[in-house]
């Protein structure tokens, strides 16, 4: 059989052989060697070495332990003096294998003590050229507010005083004898402090005063001395509470008895042990009925009842008793002004109660939305992580607040006095309620160290928040999509910090810890991993670290471990640097087919010492648009007899693999002026109007960081090419994203045109 030696060479883009270049180049100075700098190098040096507590898989290891701290406390809120009094018995379980010479207790209210150092790290300037009397008095005449803890005693279980040392917001209990592994230490503290008016003095907790009816609305938190976390990641997490970075807390069981004025409506973390004692008969009936009301909220305390309570200013007291199992903190809300509504939520067969507490000033917005948003949040978050394990979730109306505690949170969103509210106010309220209730999952249950890594709860929470918002309202204006962080990421580099920066020292805290991580996760889910792989891995992470203390490495590792995707390049770029994404099209070269040698082919043949005449009718030549001049001269695949012959000589199996013949060849040069490596999303538009999407994995940039070329071979002509048409990759400059280049009239001109019409 005659052998048909057929060479289908692509003489297209023969990159000049290196030896040719070397001969021409001058002898340059030899550069020094280097370590691995590829953007795809693994995060081995950045992440802590895996160990038997935090494994290489990203899971808690066989030797994982965590401490447990139980509290029994009695709290009194004195509405007349705005003071909180408390006493507690703390049981500290040392589940670690270490001897502890001391325990650290957090005294967060000391951030507001008269001698707090928090004001001393702020800049003060001659801001105003004039002051009214209120401001002047506050800034220069008044002594600083003293909201710090006043400790009456710190003693052991036998009432013997304990030695302790206070360093601002941290107190060290100097143990007489080290606490051995497996041992328990019981001690008691009695304290009081002046509750801050948070409207005037700021803060995540405190009270708001309502001058019209003379009542206060209390949102109480960080109100008791509590243990710092001890583990083998930070040792004792006793970094000071300056006011910004939040809390690191242990799990435990809390018995909390709270005494407040008898005409207050109060709720807190934990199962209410004595509802019949604290609610009227009617209210108790409604409270029970709500447990069966899955479609609409039931009002347990009505606005009319709240308005009556507002006037009573009772001198009597009531004690509300709560028991909270396996929580990391307690929050309390109490006021005469509270309306209370409730709805039952079915979480995979278990009933969870959604509650809202709000004064009349929150209506009609709060009655309409709050409890329903709580319910929606619980359902959607449970889908993405795990079934909500607690029995209730409460949304409390508090002006200017947005803060989370286990099972209870404070949320802003107040209509105007006439009851009207803008879309902005409504959406803001729905967003904050979703976000704060969502925090039950991160960090109340997936209990990361907020003092060190704000983004681990805020970023993850902001991401799941978006999914919940879309389900509540598909047109909801979320703010943490990749395109929403473009203006942040294209900011002046001097004011950008990587996400992996401890929160107190970050510029532009909001986008850094909230929206940029959330946008990154959106990219991971929708663009890089796809929802199926992402959702499984995200759920795996959530379930692994439910009721435990994860670190960033656990998150990064789990997402890879459970999906089979290498994501270190993504964590490195998005979380560890302030690099931005900018991918575009630099050039498009169009090629046709011909059966005659082209200039380039002749030149290459010379280089290889080939005589093209020997290959007459045996080769397919690629000819550029410029060279062919008239495209009608181009040949089609079917014009090549030798190709036909070759195809016919193939086996049946191989024949079945032959696809439609392309006649047009586009060599597209993609450029990447931005530092990040991300998938390359390309949309081709053909001459018949049809479109095709192709996505190349980020690894395409691995050996071609600045520019990479791809050939698109097609039977139809391509009229348009667009990179990232749906704005999925936070591309900070889309003026280079189109071919042919789009002369984008800028935003200014678009506005002017609109005015003319």
């Amino acid at each position: 059989m005659k052998k048909i030696s057929l060479y289908v060479f692509s003489f297209l883009m023969i990159s000049s052989f290196t030896f040719a270049q070397e001969q021409d180049a001058q002898i340059k100075e030899r550069k020094p060697g280097h370590t691995s700098t590829t953007k795809f190098r693994q995060l081995k040096q950045e992440l802590a070495t895996p160990n038997s507590q935090h494994t290489a898989s990203g899971a808690p290891g066989h030797a994982y332990t965590q401490q447990q701290v139980d509290y029994v406390m009695n709290i009194t809120i004195d509405d007349k003096t705005q003071k909180l009094f408390g006493d507690e018995v703390i049981t500290y379980h040392n589940n670690s294998k270490d001897q502890l010479e001391y325990l650290w207790v957090q005294l967060d209210q000391n951030m507001r003590a008269a001698d707090s150092k928090t004001p001393d790290v702020k800049q003060t300037t001659m801001e105003a050229s004039f002051n009214g009397p209120v401001t002047f008095t506050k800034d220069y005449l008044k002594k600083p507010f003293d909201g710090g803890f006043k400790l009456e005693y710190v003693k052991d279980v036998n009432d013997k005083p304990l030695s302790y040392t206070i360093n601002s917001t941290m107190m060290r209990i100097n143990l007489v004898k080290p606490l051995a592994p497996g041992e328990t230490f019981v001690f008691k503290i009695k304290w009081w402090y002046t509750i801050n008016n948070y409207i005037n003095d700021g803060g995540r907790s405190g009270y708001e005063h309502f001058p019209k009816d003379g009542n206060n609305l209390y949102v109480i938190a960080q109100f008791f001395p509590r243990l710092a976390v001890y583990d083998n990641v930070e040792g004792w997490q006793n970094m000071q509470f300056w006011g910004r970075s939040e809390f690191a807390l242990e799990f435990g069981n809390y018995t909390v008895n709270i005494t407040a004025p008898s005409d207050h409506i109060l709720n807190a973390t934990g199962l209410l042990q004595n509802p019949k004692e604290v609610l009227s008969r009617t209210q108790y009936k409604r409270f029970q009925a709500a447990k069966k009301s899955f479609d609409e909220p039931i009002i347990i305390v009505t606005q009319a009842e709240a308005e009556v309570a507002e006037k009573s200013h009772s001198d009597k007291t009531k004690t509300w008793k709560f028991y909270a199992e396996n929580v990391r903190d307690i929050g309390i809300a109490t006021s005469r002004k509270f309306i209370w509504d409730a709805m039952a939520v079915n979480i995979n067969g278990k009933t969870v109660m959604a509650y809202s507490l709000y004064p009349k000033e929150g209506n009609p917005l709060w009655e309409k939305h709050s409890t329903k948003v709580v319910a929606n949040t619980l359902k959607v978050y449970s889908k993405y992580t795990f079934d909500y394990p607690y029995h209730k979730a409460i949304s409390v109306h508090a002006r200017q607040q947005g803060m989370e505690y286990p099972q209870i949170c404070w949320n802003y969103g107040r209509p105007k006095e006439d009851g009207t509210y803008s879309d902005r106010v409504r959406d803001g309220m729905i967003g904050v309620v979703t976000h704060e209730v969502g925090h039950n999952f991160f960090p109340m249950i997936v209990n990361s160290d907020e003092r060190q890594w704000t983004w681990m709860d805020e970023g993850l929470n902001s991401f799941v928040e978006m999914q919940a918002e879309f389900e509540y309202d598909p047109n909801f204006n979320t703010r943490s999509l990749p395109k929403d962080v473009v203006s942040y990421m294209s900011m002046d580099q001097d004011h950008l910090s990587p996400i992996m920066t401890q929160g107190d020292h970050v510029y532009n805290f909001g986008p850094n810890a909230y929206s940029k991580p959330a946008a990154g996760l959106t990219m991971l889910r929708n663009t890089i991993m796809g929802p199926e792989l992402f959702d499984y891995a995200f759920r795996t992470y959530s379930k692994r670290w439910m009721f435990k203390h994860p670190t960033p490495a656990d998150f990064f590792r789990t997402m890879e471990d459970a999906s089979g995707m290498d994501l270190d390049w993504f964590w490195r770029g998005w979380f560890y640097t302030t690099d931005y994404n900018d991918i575009g099209i630099k050039e498009v070269k169009k090629y046709y087919l011909t059966n005659k040698p082209t200039k380039a082919a002749i030149a290459d043949a010379e280089k290889y010492g080939m005589n093209l005449d020997d290959f007459k009718d045996k080769l397919v030549y690629f000819i550029s648009e410029e060279e062919i001049g008239n495209p009608n001269k181009a040949k089609k695949v079917k014009d090549f007899k030798m190709l036909d012959n070759y195809l016919n000589s193939l086996s049946e199996t191989e024949k079945s693999r032959i696809k439609e013949a392309p006649n047009y060849f586009y060599e597209v040069t993609f450029e990447k002026p931005g530092g990040l490596v991300l998938p390359l999303i390309v949309e081709l538009t053909y001459e018949d109007g049809t479109k095709e999407r192709q996505q190349f994995p980020a690894e395409i940039w691995s050996k071609h960081d600045a520019e990479v070329k791809r050939i698109f071979a097609s039977s139809k002509q391509i009229t348009n090419i667009v990179v990232d048409p749906d704005l999925e990759t936070a591309d900070i400059d889309i003026t280079n994203n189109s071919w042919p280049k789009k002369i984008e009239s800028n935003q200014f001109e678009k506005f002017k045109d609109k005015l003319k019409n």
Partner: protein, 166 residues
């Protein structure tokens, strides 16, 4: 409670764990269009912040954003901008026209234009908007004049900057 209003209140806004991503930055794009010999100015400011600053400065209670928007808002916005934002080209203070405003989510866009600019040898921009109300306010000015791109980062301490062109 006396009726003396606080004219300039420096709010210490603590950072909560909420969605409103509080950071005090405004972005202004200033672009010179050779074809029309005009300077196009696009301001991007958080609605809440501008609302608060204007209400505090003029002792008003306006609500920005449709549909409840007060009728005299544009007047106040123009006044406020004129008190805080100046453009000097070739050492001359330039008059700018207020073309209009548009809302997008939690941001307000304000469009200004300076006409009849033959050449720009140097341009000085002052922008102290929001700084009296929010001490950490930073106003970023992104200039694009012919082939020159420059960014000013203006703060309370330095609320104006100058660019010299060749």
């Amino acid at each position: 409670m006396t009726k003396i209003k606080r004219l300039l209140i420096i709010l210490v806004i603590p950072l909560f764990a909420f969605t409103a991503h509080k950071y005090y930055i405004s972005l202004i794009k200033v672009e010179y269009k050779t074809s029309s010999k005009s300077l196009q100015i696009t301001m991007r400011i958080f609605i809440d912040d501008l609302q608060e600053a204007i209400n505090k400065t003029y002792i008003k209670n306006f609500e920005f954003g449709e549909p409840n928007e007060s009728k005299n808002i544009n007047e106040l916005i123009i006044n406020y901008i004129q008190d805080n934002f100046t453009v000097k080209i070739n050492s001359q203070n330039k008059v700018y026209q207020f073309l209009g405003k548009a809302y997008d989510n939690d941001v307000i866009f304000i469009y200004l234009e300076v006409e009849d600019i033959e050449t720009i040898q140097h341009i000085e921009i002052k922008n102290s908007m929001l700084m009296a109300t929010f001490s950490e306010q930073k106003n970023i000015i992104k200039l694009k004049i012919n082939n020159t791109k420059k960014t000013f980062l203006l703060t309370k301490e330095k609320d104006k900057d100058l660019l010299k062109l060749n």
